[in-house]
């Protein structure tokens, strides 16, 4: 009964179409394939869903409109007024993470967001973008973000570094949260799948656990996309509405 279980094998990036420019490896990988798929599906949903633009929406139009309204609502309540111009960015971010997470749950596919380099790239875009927006909107005044109001000067020596640190930690928390959740969830699924493969008749128990876990993972997939988007909104709010 020696069935080998490799719960981490699912995260291997494989070159599907090897491509090299000089020493640069730009091969088209399974990760890139899943990203392309996610972008393609989102584009299809939003383009074909709204093509007819009926006053009484059909199923696909409903889905497209609901996701749009969901993100628009999120921005209005969390980023304050004047943040609507960032709707395309937050919407893209939310849909990309959501679709990547959900596509990763399809058996034999690959979870793009389980790689920290991907989530960190997304978080870094948010972080750099928000910082630039802050400086463009407020100039050097943006630095007041790091100076808490109404604090004696002596404490500022201590508080400003803490504020700075908690600001620069944002891209890390943002990326690690998403990455860790996806990695842990998918590893767990694979481990219980491995149990099921190795215990013969009693496989029904780990299999049942796996079924429940898939449900949980669906929730996590949606929730993590939501958390990522809502935190982007909150950071935008800090940059737009300086205290």
């Amino acid at each position: 009964m020696a069935i080998e279980i490799h719960p981490l094998e699912q995260f291997t990036v494989e070159r599907l179409i090897p491509l090299h420019i000089g020493k640069l490896d730009i091969s088209y990988t399974n990760s890139a394939l899943l990203m392309t798929l996610a972008v393609g599906l989102i584009t299809a949903l939003t383009v074909f869903g709204t093509r007819k633009a009926a006053l009484v929406p059909g199923r696909w139009q409903s889905v497209a409109e609901m996701s749009y309204e969901f993100v628009a609502d999120m921005i209005d309540t969390n980023a304050g007024h004047g943040a609507r111009e960032f709707l395309p960015f937050v919407f893209t971010l939310f849909m990309f993470i959501l679709f990547s997470n959900l596509l990763g749950l399809v058996p034999y596919s690959f979870t793009v967001t389980s790689h920290i380099i991907v989530t960190f790239a997304l978080a870094a875009v948010v972080f750099v973008g928000v910082t630039i927006i802050g400086f463009v909107r407020h100039g050097a005044h943006f630095l007041r973000l790091f100076v808490p109001a109404g604090v004696p000067a002596v404490l500022l020596v201590l508080l400003v570094p803490i504020e700075l640190l908690s600001y620069f930690i944002r891209p890390f928390t943002l990326s690690i949260r998403l990455f860790a959740n996806m990695l842990a969830g998918h590893t767990m699924l694979a481990i219980f799948g491995g149990f099921a493969a190795s215990v013969g008749f009693f496989a029904i128990i780990p299999l049942g656990v796996d079924v429940l876990l898939v449900g949980l993972e669906l929730l996590v997939a949606a929730l993590q996309a939501y958390v990522f988007a809502i935190l982007t909104c909150l950071y935008l709010r800090d940059a737009l509405h300086l205290h």
Binding site: L55, G150, P161, L165, H243
Partner: protein, 133 residues
């Protein structure tokens, strides 16, 4: 077909839909007029779950990243072990601050930054919060 009646219900599918919607709403309203409250409760639950997932990572990452930064600074400047020590404590403080802010922000609906209002440290600075709602 019918003449004179306001919008013809057969020829105008929108009017028909409007009627059906009205009927459905009336029915739901009769069963318990807690429509909006329900929605609000759901929103809270969703936000709560999101928040729970959020703050778990917040503290750990703050400490780990800050300590790592201190360690790197030590290597660079040759000040071992002071950078690591100082930045470890700063990281703990920053982590606590992040968690506190995430928690303090729950009831503010929009909030994340600061809960200055009730403490009244510098109300003038936060006039923006007041004119928001």
């Amino acid at each position: 077909m019918s003449e004179g009646g306001p919008p013809d219900p057969v020829a105008d599918p929108l009017a028909r839909l409007g009627e059906r919607l009205d009927r459905a709403r009336a029915k739901r309203g009769g069963e318990g007029a807690a429509g909006p409250d329900d929605a609000a409760g759901q929103g809270d639950g969703q936000q709560g779950a999101g928040l729970g997932l959020r703050i778990g990572v917040e503290f750990v990452v703050a400490v780990v990243v800050a300590t790592g930064l201190g360690w790197a600074l030590d290597r660079w400047l040759g000040t071992r072990p002071w950078g690591t020590i100082v930045l470890f404590f700063l990281g703990v403080a920053a982590g606590m601050l992040s968690v506190y802010r995430a928690i303090a922000g729950i009831k503010m609906a929009v909030g994340y930054r600061r809960l200055d209002g009730p403490a009244g440290r510098k109300p003038a600075k936060d006039a923006w919060d007041e004119d928001e709602e």
